[in-house]
Symmetry: C2
Subunit: 456 residues, 2 copies
């Protein structure tokens, strides 16, 4: 597929950052080494500088199914599978998000929507509301309804199909979910299922959190972005005309089901957008994963199933660990927002939906990395590697031309990470895989970065 077919509108790849970043794509485009032994991958630590001790990772039990599938735990305490799957299961991997009585499993694998048991064990009550959008409904709604009801005539399923896109992630659209649930007389023992990308997951999750003050919730993310990021950790919400995700709740699902087959229908641009978050995990806490990505980005773009499954699993493991340590984002969890403060300003200033979230995050990551370098906190080599991998992934490394310094300052001032008027940022510091979340930085460096990336 031609790169032009997937480039976001108004992308501006011309650079004015502080260092030479003119690394051509071909220079780092390694031939793809197949991801072998993916079922036996063990987790390794990368150091982080946020002051919290890392988990003592436990060597995970490996359960073979059909001689192919396995199960790898990412939580600090090895989880017990209370209802083991049948031998015929196509389940590949479970990542457990360890949050005490709000813990839940993330199932990752191919063909999981053809495993009715998997979904049905997490349904509470007899009534299910599937929340999806006009793009996903024709592709997967029937399949999901079948998975929910197959062999279980007690379950009745309703669905609400919302318009597709970030610009519809607002109160008016959310009300359509409440209207449907109330008109259908759903009660507290109901289950809401989010079928779609991050927008659907965030809106359905907030609807589940607020409907009758909280009903059961299941996520079936169908984009890389939702699979590696928004479906893990319980952040739900909607946008306000003045800022992203300003209204919402922390609300955990009963389970997340990631059927990697749903990526087969994902547009290239959406695919690449998700990789911005994958890159992020490497940068903030998992240098080894970043190195793997540098070698395997072409395989990911080519949708190699093994590479995709591995990248999703390792991303979910990283996020699950962070969320387990800091569910309500008192500090550590904020590091998952590398590039997001700049990125949210781009999304708000450029108008929701002009760029995909991952595209804005990629440009924001480039800006955060630039600023980290100006502060003298990282080596130039890291800046080059970041620009290089983002460009490999066909992601932007600068904001759209419409963005001005003043727009950035204005929109960043309403970021949720502002505390008592002080803007805190996630910046890289030290060797690859280390970051800080801090308001203690030289304001001149921020100004210089903004001026370097903006026309005016």
């Amino acid at each position: 597929m031609a790169a032009s077919a997937t480039a976001p509108p108004a992308l501006r790849f011309s650079l004015k950052p502080s260092i030479d970043s003119s690394v051509s794509r071909s220079e780092t485009c390694d031939p793809f080494p197949r991801c072998r032994n993916r079922d036996l991958v063990s987790l390794r630590s990368s150091s982080v500088s946020h002051g919290l001790s890392r988990f003592n990772r436990v060597s995970s039990p490996v359960l073979k199914f059909d001689g192919i599938r396995s199960k790898v735990m990412a939580s600090s305490v090895p989880a017990v599978d209370k209802s083991p799957l049948k031998k015929s299961s196509r389940l590949s991997t479970i990542v457990d998000v360890d949050l005490g009585d709000r813990s839940y499993p993330i199932y990752i694998g191919s063909g999981l929507l053809e495993e009715p048991d998997l979904l049905q064990r997490h349904v509470h009550g007899k009534r299910v509301l599937v929340v999806t959008n006009t793009t996903i409904a024709p592709l997967y709604l029937d399949k999901v309804i079948n998975a929910l009801t197959c062999g279980n005539s007690n379950i009745s399923v309703e669905s609400v199909i919302l318009p597709d896109g970030e610009k519809y992630k607002n109160m008016d659209t959310l009300m359509k979910v409440f209207d449907k649930a109330i008109e259908s007389r759903f009660d507290r023992r109901s289950t809401f299922v989010a079928l779609g990308g991050g927008v659907i997951g965030d809106m359905c999750g907030f609807a589940a959190a607020a409907f009758l003050r909280g009903v059961n919730f299941i996520q079936i993310p169908t984009t890389v972005m939702a699979q590696v990021d928004s479906s893990v950790g319980g952040k739900t919400g909607i946008n306000h005309p003045l800022g992203k995700n300003l209204i919402g709740a922390f609300y955990q699902p009963q389970c997340v089901l990631i059927d990697t087959d749903t990526l087969n229908t994902l547009p290239d641009r959406e695919l690449a957008s998700g990789f911005a978050e994958v890159v992020k995990y490497g940068l903030i806490r998992d240098a080894e994963f970043f190195q793997w990505q540098e070698k395997n980005m072409q395989a990911l773009l080519a949708r190699d199933p093994s590479a995709l499954a591995y990248a999703i699993k390792r991303s979910c493991e990283n996020k699950a660990e962070v969320v387990s340590l800091d569910e309500k984002e008192s500090g550590l969890r904020a590091t998952l927002n590398l590039g997001h403060t700049f990125g949210h300003a781009i999304e708000t200033g450029f108008g929701y939906g002009q760029w995909l979230h991952g595209e804005a995050v990629a440009a924001g990551t480039a800006m955060a990395v630039d600023m980290s370098y100006r502060l003298g906190w990282i080596d130039e080599s890291i800046v080059k590697r970041v620009y290089n991998i983002l460009q490999q992934a066909k992601l932007p490394i600068a904001p759209p031309e419409v963005m001005t310094v003043e727009m950035f300052k204005s929109y960043m001032a309403v970021d949720k990470k502002v505390a008592d008027g002080l803007l805190r940022l996630i910046l890289l510091k030290g060797p690859l895989g280390n970051c800080v979340f801090t308001g203690d930085y030289d304001r001149n460096s921020l100004d210089k970065t903004l001026r370097a990336f903006c026309e005016s």
Copy 2:
């Protein structure tokens, strides 16, 4: 004061229930014995039949201030006052709501809005948003702003003044709170203060729960209803055209400050409305409190300060205990909804704001008591005493004429207590002070009650 001045519109006191309830007001209108030793009141148990063991009530420490004020704990574990008030404090009573790391104090007394320390110790961050309405703002907004800022120049206060009334408890009005907070660039370290009745408390609480996924929250309830019920226990939310409180969150405040002086400006009808909830506590779990009310209802209606303070304190203690045992309403907490399922149907069917909440609850309580009697679960004497005390309090004991059996059935079917299609109700069972929350009752009795109370 003439009864006609406070009677709700379209009240229908003519009765068609199952027993003779024509007890005249004067028959039980005992002369008011002053509430002596109110500062040393100890709690006594009344038995309940919900199957959960009662607290072992602990003899509370009594801390004297000025030889007048005292502190009585209602929580199961005596709380420690970490920052004792100065000797000059006018604080009368603290009821502690025991919810682990979400525990909070309810301060009850006269002149508490003139104690800046009390509010300021619970403010997080430097910015406060007071949410109030057009009725309360002219009366108390300046006083509250002064209490928040007096002697503390670091605190800046914004306010949003909403239209007054249950009919404005909706998403459009809620958005005005978000708009104000976002336009004013409030961040996560902000505090929302609800100044007003139950509508303001519920909306401000939900706004605090959802703004940036949760900010600090303080309640200053100014009606009996809000003081004895809606400000205790963390239920927040808004109405949907098809039902009350269908969208919301469980969200606990940092503190509740009840300045009984604010009741001096409360209209008589609002005052009486709050007594419906006070009566409820006696009926569901505190027979002794009910007996006290039978003797003191005239004093309450005459706004005797001692009687009001005692009724509020004892109501908060009852609710705090129930909420401590069952924060998320898995069973016991539902008993606080005696009369509310019928009452919500009245509010929805009659249109929000036609009747006050307590008026609808009073009629709903009469219906629940009638149904309990039809089921053979209580003696006729209890029915008579309930009708009598509600009539003493100038509250309705039958729904408005517009309500039909079909309307009740339709609106009760969307009640939050419906589970898998089964309507569960709170009904009295056994001696005074005992109730059950159950879906296991004879449907004929419900039908008979509905037919007895409705024209068609």
